[in-house]
Every structure is written in structure tokens, then in C-alpha cells.
């Protein structure tokens, strides 16, 4: 067998599973310690053929329907990297989000904000050889939720990545700069400072397109490569 690739364990910036300020974690977070296992071929391999999985690019969330969605048009772009700053090429970034009014196209979202018939809020992009991705969407609105009295989620975009291996799976949320709701959000707040700021995108004039859309930069860093040889 060839020399096995390994991936770093989670770093200090990952949230705990149990974070009582986010009330839903209380009945869903395991209480027993995780059992640490060596990374085997099971954990160091992962799926790669998107044509057999969720399908190809859907990078413009504003052109999926007959009309144009309401809201501030934005271009989100960045790179997917590993912890050694190497690009993660040909990996899928799945995206979903609320519309500009903060409402999801989901039957269980009962908040009284308008749905937009021209906006679904789902997309996926495959990174290029330099790990770059780019998608066009509208800035999602903030919305209330039932976690505690007067709770509001900051504007956010959900991002899901598989990376090269089972071990590199990541689902995160991208936030916007200067959002006053971020500091009082229990979900973002489960991530200790200063690492929470890793999830805050940066406004960028260079990727802003004149008379068209605002540009935001958001790089995504996946686990690895491992610093130590495979255990066991």
C-alpha cells in the first residue's frame, strides 16, 4: 500500500457539540467523550465524481427562474484551501440560504416575510485547479427564530464541502461584515473568539462589478494535511 495521507484533527476554533445558549444542542449533543480512532483508509478517502452525485455547477442563484429576485445582488468568491495553504481543486461547495427578506423556500419556515417566486437559494460550485469558486446571489435577510426571546439570526449563507476525504467534511455559515446581530447570535457564538471572525466575509471592491453587484471574499480552509504519520 502507498503511504497514507492523514488529516489534522480539529483545531481550537471548532465549536463544541454542546452549547446551551443554542438550545437545540442540549438534547442532541452527546455527553460521553468521543472515542479517538486512528485515520484509516475509510477516513482518508472520499467521493469525487459529482456527475454521479448531486450534479454540476449551479453558480448563479439569481437566474434560476423567469424573473429576477428582489434584493441586493452580491458576488461571493474565494478559495478552498487546506491548512498548508494548498488549493483544494475539483471539490464541491454546496450553498443554501434565505431570500432577501430572510425567508427560506421551505414549507417549515413559517416566518411572516414574503417568499420570492424568483429565488430558490440553492446552488453548487466546483472549485477550479486553484481552488477558486464564485457564485452570484442576493444578500440574505436576517430572520427571527425561537431560540430565546427576541432572537434573530444574522444574515448568513450556508456552505457545505466534502473535500478530498471523509475526514475533511465541513458545513459552515458565512456572515457579512459589520452585522450587529453576529455578536449576539448563539450559533456563531458557539465558536470561540477570535476564531469566530474566520466566518466573517470581507467586502471587496476588486470583485465588485460596476453597476451590477457587490463583491465579498470568503476563503474556506479544510483540515489537513496531517503533521504526524498515521497512528497504529
Amino acid at each position: 500500500m502507498s503511504e497514507a495521507i492523514t488529516y489534522n484533527r480539529e483545531d481550537a476554533g471548532q465549536p463544541p457539540s454542546l452549547s446551551p445558549a443554542y438550545a437545540s444542542t442540549v438534547a442532541r449533543a452527546p455527553r460521553r467523550p468521543l472515542v479517538r480512532i486512528p485515520q484509516t483508509l475509510t477516513e482518508t478517502t472520499g467521493p469525487a465524481d459529482w456527475s454521479l452525485l448531486m450534479g454540476g455547477n449551479l453558480a448563479d442563484l439569481t437566474s434560476c427562474h423567469a424573473g429576477t429576485p428582489i434584493g441586493q445582488r452580491v458576488i461571493v468568491s474565494g478559495r478552498v484551501l487546506d491548512e498548508a495553504h494548498r488549493p483544494v481543486a475539483n471539490t464541491v461547495v454546496e450553498i443554501w440560504q434565505a431570500n432577501a427578506a430572510g425567508r427560506y423556500i421551505h414549507h417549515k419556515d413559517q416566518w411572516d416575510a414574503p417568499l420570492d417566486p424568483n429565488f430558490t437559494g440553492a446552488g453548487r460550485v466546483i472549485t477550479d485547479a486553484e481552488g477558486r469558486y464564485r457564485y452570484v446571489t442576493v444578500r440574505p435577510g436576517a430572520y427571527p427564530w425561537k431560540n430565546h426571546h427576541n432572537a434573530w439570526r444574522p444574515s448568513h449563507i450556508h456552505l457545505s464541502l466534502l473535500g478530498p476525504a471523509f475526514a475533511t467534511r465541513l458545513v459552515t455559515q458565512m456572515y457579512f461584515p459589520d452585522d450587529p446581530l453576529l455578536a449576539i447570535d448563539p450559533i456563531a457564538g458557539a465558536v470561540p473568539e477570535p476564531y469566530r471572525q474566520r466566518m466573517v466575509s470581507r467586502f471587496d471592491l476588486a470583485t465588485t462589478e460596476p453597476n451590477w453587484a457587490l463583491g465579498y471574499l470568503f476563503d474556506i480552509v479544510l483540515r489537513g494535511p496531517g503533521a504526524t504519520p498515521m497512528e497504529g
Binding site: M1, I5, G13, Q14, P15, S17, S19, Y22, T25, V26, A27, R28, A29, P30, R31, R32, L34, V35, R36, I37, Q39, T40, L41, T42, T45, G46, P47, A48, D49, L52, L53, G55, H65, E94, A98, I105, H106, K108, T120, A122, S160, L162, P164, A165, F166, R169, V171, T172, M174, I187, A188, V191, Q197, R198, M199, V200, R202, L217, V221, G232
Partner: protein, 222 residues
């Protein structure tokens, strides 16, 4: 300028965040839980208007070798309540014990080109998930050890700030006794990782996932 995603001094792993409750039109595609056929299993398209369910549909599959099996189970929280908004992902080798991934370069073992080994299923209102797949073969473990046939399982969803990872093994498999990962688990808790063949019929393997409580599933730090 305050610290943000682009600050070099903050460079490092992007933090995990929960999927929240509204991921069904964005993640679980039709057929995501059917690794061998062309059914719609795995998705819950009824949770979004039809025009807004934009995820891919099942691909065409060629012949896939091995023993066809069904994996079925339910997800429960620490109070024993079913979890209706979880997402289960699986990753496994094919019947010959090879992963469909360039990092598994054991070219002496056959690959089934249309068997990805990856599956995704949203849980139903009663917490049920179901996969159609094949029984995986044994795979190499650390050193010269051999891993018993198993499936890696990820649990994501509302209330889960980060993915939980467990494994599914098969009851009665003789290699279980030699498996290097099962050996790291207290004997009294190993049952939480071992699916049992259902009385419903042969080839139907059942394993429930308990996020907490007395029978809490063993979760791994990988």
C-alpha cells in the same frame, strides 16, 4: 480593520456551523440514499415547492457487484424523541473492499464505475433514514490489520453544531472480533455500532442512532 476571514493571522480551519432546519432543498438530492439503483430515495422534496426543488435527480447506474442490502434506522435525541431534521451521510468501500477514490490506489481490486460509495439521506418526521447499497468488503487497517466490513456514518442537522461520526458494522461478521477500531470501544458499548439483520427480511440491516441517553451511540474523534 477588525479581524475577518481574510486576516492572515487568523488563517486556519473554517469553523463548523449547524445545518439548521431548512437544508432540505439544498442538500439531499433525489436518489442520494440509493447507491445501487435509480430511485428517489433520500430526498424530501415535499418540503419545498416543486419549482424550487433544483437538486439533481438520480443518475443512470451500471451493474454493481456484491450483495444488495438495505440499511435502515432511526435517529433519537437524548430524551428518546425522534429527530426529524437530521441528515445522515454514509461512505463505504465496494464489495471488493475498495474505495472509489484516487487515494485508494489498490488497482488489483475491482471498481464499479457507477458505485460512488457515498450516500446522503434526510431523516423523515419519525427520524427514519434508509439506504440501498451493497455489503462492503473488508478494508486495510493500521499496520497489517484488517478492518471488518463497515460503513462510515456522519450525522448532521439542526442542533448539531458539528458533524457526529460513527460507524455501522454487521452482526455475525467473524472479522468484527479482530477489527482494530471496534477494539478501541468499550465492550459494553460496541452494540451501538453493530447493525442487526432485520426480521423484515434478509439483507435488511437495522441500526438506530441515539444522540444521548443511556444507550448513547459511540461517536468517534477522527
Amino acid at each position: 480593520m477588525s479581524l475577518d476571514n481574510q486576516s492572515p493571522e487568523l488563517f486556519g480551519q473554517t469553523p463548523w456551523q449547524t445545518l439548521g432546519p431548512f437544508f432540505h432543498y439544498g442538500l439531499p438530492w433525489k436518489g442520494g440514499a440509493d447507491l445501487t439503483g435509480e430511485s428517489d430515495l433520500g430526498a424530501r422534496p415535499e418540503l419545498a415547492p416543486e419549482a424550487h426543488y433544483v437538486l439533481a435527480s438520480p443518475p443512470h447506474r451500471g451493474p454493481i457487484s456484491g450483495e444488495a442490502i438495505t440499511i435502515v434506522g432511526r435517529v433519537f435525541d437524548a430524551d428518546g424523541a425522534p429527530v426529524p431534521d437530521a441528515l445522515i451521510e454514509i461512505w463505504q468501500a465496494n464489495a471488493a473492499g475498495r474505495y472509489n477514490c484516487a487515494a485508494d490506489d489498490r488497482s488489483d481490486l475491482p471498481l464499479d464505475p457507477t458505485f460512488t460509495g457515498f450516500g446522503r439521506s434526510a431523516t423523515a418526521e419519525d427520524g427514519t433514514f434508509r439506504f440501498l447499497t451493497v455489503l462492503p468488503g473488508p478494508t486495510p487497517g493500521p499496520g497489517n490489520s484488517q478492518q471488518a466490513p463497515h460503513i462510515a456514518v456522519g450525522i448532521l442537522g439542526r442542533g448539531l453544531l458539528k458533524r457526529l461520526v460513527t460507524r455501522l458494522y454487521f452482526a455475525g461478521e467473524p472479522l468484527n472480533d479482530l477489527d482494530p477500531i471496534l477494539a478501541l470501544v468499550d465492550a459494553g458499548r460496541r452494540d451501538t455500532l453493530v447493525a442487526k439483520e432485520s426480521t423484515v427480511g434478509p439483507g435488511v440491516w437495522r441500526l438506530d442512532i441515539r444522540l444521548g441517553g443511556d444507550d448513547e451511540t459511540v461517536f468517534f474523534d477522527v
